[in-house]
Symmetry: D2
Subunit: 315 residues, 4 copies
């Protein structure tokens, strides 16, 4: 099966849970993918599905397009510009697509280094978690060279449910921050109304069923429903990570002179999660604090509720 | 075509825009519907589609199930219990389904009167506006007799995208208030991040495309997109009506001793809309105040953006 | 010693802690005061200081001016208009000065009854607690007849540190609500900065000494200092009473279409005090919640700090 | 007249409005003061009152104690450590007391340089504005060497209404930030209740008279009264400077993991002042935004109101 992206040689840097989910989607679509992961074993598990395995990041330099899903800003800098890194040899791919969540500063720094080697960097932060990725519902905000985006677009479409080009440079990272500010506000609001409903005599399950079914329902409100109903706060996104995104998002707002009355109020509540010891739990523990402040003792409703993340059908 | 609800005789009180949209759905599904409207002409327009027209509300008493979509609490009381009203004769339908937004007090009062005539009242407030109704995406929270809900459920399914039974008495009205508190918070949060994005150099269209496409996207965020992008604040729901729902929702929270830090902050912002002269505009004017506070002059982006309200397919 | 108020016969209804403190001030100033208290023993303790004791509220009708310090709106209505009440006979004083905290509705109702008997009602809610009263620092906002205020003014001056005429009818009650909204906001802000200071390495005592000494210091900030430093939350004003004043103050704001972003945010925090079980503690427990949300365990500093309530000198 | 501080030779760096007011107080108390100002003319005006005038900052190095009141962090660094600066020669005073508002970083850097020359730096930020200084009501939070504070204390007492030692290093700067966060919150709360009162029918003058007279009154609430009553927004402290202190105060709170729900809400409102074009007006323009949001058109009450800043008596 030929891929529908144009037959480019693809490289992938970083085979964590998110990376693996995404690589599988490319392989399933018939793409030619070479994978490098610091811990080689993780990459090798992909060989059975058709991936080629590289021994160094530098080996990926001969690919046309290299996707990156690494953990931190420093990992990103090391993998691209460090010794043995992607650009440590005498060639570079045409486009690097960074799907990690790295700082605008790290990204800007790498972008400038790559440009000297004729390589465009696209910032392509993802919206959604690994489970969302696995079912093909991840979306991407993309910024950088428009030309590069046009080349890469078909592959991004294979990776999830759509990519939107938002402009130059690091703008996609601002979009991601906006997205996460919204996500935090929405979660706090869900916590407030869920507790109000429960104290009024309505089960959390019933309230969330109504909301999820209504015009206000979203993939997010549905996949957070089990956490709210059955109090499963195993983290998909920790309070401290959300706090960090609020830190960054509100710093951006301050830089651009934008008051954010509601986002900043939620920022303080998320900070409270840290104070109350929930920093490494899922940020849905906002529900716990909300219930406490209302004198409500929460108990799991032990209900069978779907997270709505059935695999999306593929055409 | 026989209806799939069980062949009950249906009555409908109130043929405003929402009523008309819903009545058409029942008629299209082959139901037997008799309509009464204070201004008879409005009801008569439905005759061509197969509706029978009643001259008084009392005539609907011979129906099995009567739906109500009237404007105010007083209209509701008059239509059901006033002279010439539904229950002014010696019989009553088995079930009255109130899809209006009336006060819990009015509903409770009518409920008690109906029960003496062997008639169950279901509170079934709608989530969505008339346009949502027209495309079949309205949803209902329903409270009252569970038995009555089981009878009426199939018809509610015909009317929109689903009905959820939430418990006894007026609980559905609390769900509706929760829904609208959430809607207000979500809109303010969208306003904040949209202005942040715009001041960062990202068009409102691009930001909202990303969000709508992402896990955070909802039918609501999509149908508000044209207002945000092209600044069309022709009201679907006025600021003063939203303020009223916040008044009621926060009164319920106070009664149940539930702090609502974010909802109450939005309440004050919605109150500000009134002070700034937007009370009869759409509540999406929250965007206007947000932009002003950020020193941003908004201009329409004159973009072709969908409200996402294509008619839902029917199976 | 002749009193400096003009030698009127004074009556006093209600000899609780606040009443007793105030009556003593009149007696010390040489006034002619007759006291009625439901529990006669409390009134009799004042006889040694020169008070005359009445057996019924009605006996006070022959006074020129009657002050009222009772507990609740119902007590107020009963004492003035009930059987055996002040106006149950065929005469009435010229002026009744209500220093209680009663509802505007109760006050308005009594006002209308009194006017028919040629008696003016002044609403004169106090600002300050009984201890403040004892040291002569109580102040009064007064509304009602300006003429009556001119007569009563000299006595109010004896009672504390000043009375301000604010207008007709119940306006003084609005001033009292404004005062208490301010007091709640100030206390929450003190809680926030005290916890910030402590986590930065500054003792609560040092921070509050700086503030109290600075232009921001007030009688209030000084008399709350022992509570903040040594964690004495024995109530001078309970969280639930403060919550009630926020309920009323924000209802007034809603009625007059005034957004109150900060007062409403504090309202929710005070509501949280109730949820966390502090409703019958002093509202200075806002400090406790603030500390918890910051992950700070509070301990008494066991410091000798003054509440600043040394008796004011009299000239 | 011998000074009561111990007869030290004093130096003063910076003769702006605040510096001049403070130098006069030392001279009036009989102290030996040598003044350096970049613009020499300003310093010379003090000669008539008994000051000695220095030609360079370095000349002040022979003083025992040098006070600093300069404008910015950079001025501070230049004046102390630059060419021709205080420490550019081979000697240094025993103590430098910085009464400017400089950054903790600048202060820390200078502190380390001074310590090598056997000179202690005290951070002694002032609470109050130049007018407050002129009437002798300025207060100081002081941090650094306790020993140095004991030496300098008597002079600080001459300068105003009291100095409080709060701990090591830069802690006094945190106290100052706490003070200004409090000041901002108090002002917003005053704005809210003033507008509520006015829309209820109570003049701003009457409300503020009540408050100022009550236990909640402060030197600050009194000196802001003319601005609130007569709408004089000539800046004593601009919105943008207050915003900067909120930036710093909330950054400190974030560093110490302290949620600040109310301070952060006021931060956003102060940010709104910038958006609405009030950045260079007095921050009391919070009243203007508050009134607008309530649909209230403010007009000056043209009332004679005192700012309460009569000179304090000296014993």
């Amino acid at each position: 099966m030929a891929d529908r992206g144009g037959g480019h040689r693809l490289g992938w840097l970083g085979a964590g849970r998110m990376g693996v989910a995404l690589i599988h989607r490319l392989l399933d679509a018939g793409c030619d993918v070479t994978v490098y992961n610091r811990t080689r074993a993780k990459a090798e598990a992909l060989a059975a599905a058709g991936a080629k395995i590289a021994s160094t990041a530098a080996e990926l330099a001969s690919a046309d397009i290299v996707f990156v899903t690494v953990g931190t800003s420093q990992d990103f800098i090391d993998a691209l510009t460090g010794p043995g890194g992607l650009t440590s040899g005498d060639r570079a791919p045409s486009v690097v697509v960074d799907c990690s969540t790295v700082s605008a500063e790290a990204s800007q720094r790498v972008r400038e280094m790559l440009v000297g080697q004729g390589c465009a960097l696209l910032a392509a932060p993802v919206m959604g978690n690994p489970k969302v990725a696995e079912v093909g519902r991840l979306t991407f905000a993309v910024s950088g060279s428009r030309l590069a985006f046009d080349t890469v677009g078909p592959y991004l479409d294979m990776l999830g449910a759509g990519a939107t080009y938002v402009g130059d440079g690091e703008l996609a990272r601002t979009v991601k921050l906006c997205h996460n500010l919204f996500l935090g506000v929405v979660t706090q609001s869900l916590a407030e109304i869920t507790v109000l409903a429960e104290k009024s005599g309505i089960s959390r399950q019933a309230l969330l069923a109504c909301l999820n079914n209504s015009v206000m329902g979203s993939t997010f409100s549905r996949y957070k429903t089990p956490a709210f109903v059955n109090l499963d706060f195993h983290p998909t996104f920790t309070s401290s990570l959300l706090r960090k995104d609020f830190d960054l998002g509100l710093a951006a707002a301050r830089e651009h002179e934008v008051p954010m009355p509601i986002a900043s109020a939620v920022h303080q509540l998320v900070q409270g999660l840290v104070g109350y010891g929930f920093s490494e739990d899922d940020f849905a523990t906002l529900l716990v604090l909300q219930a406490r402040s209302a004198g409500l003792e929460l108990a799991s409703e032990n209900a069978e509720v779907s997270d709505g993340l059935e695999p999306a059908s593929r055409d």
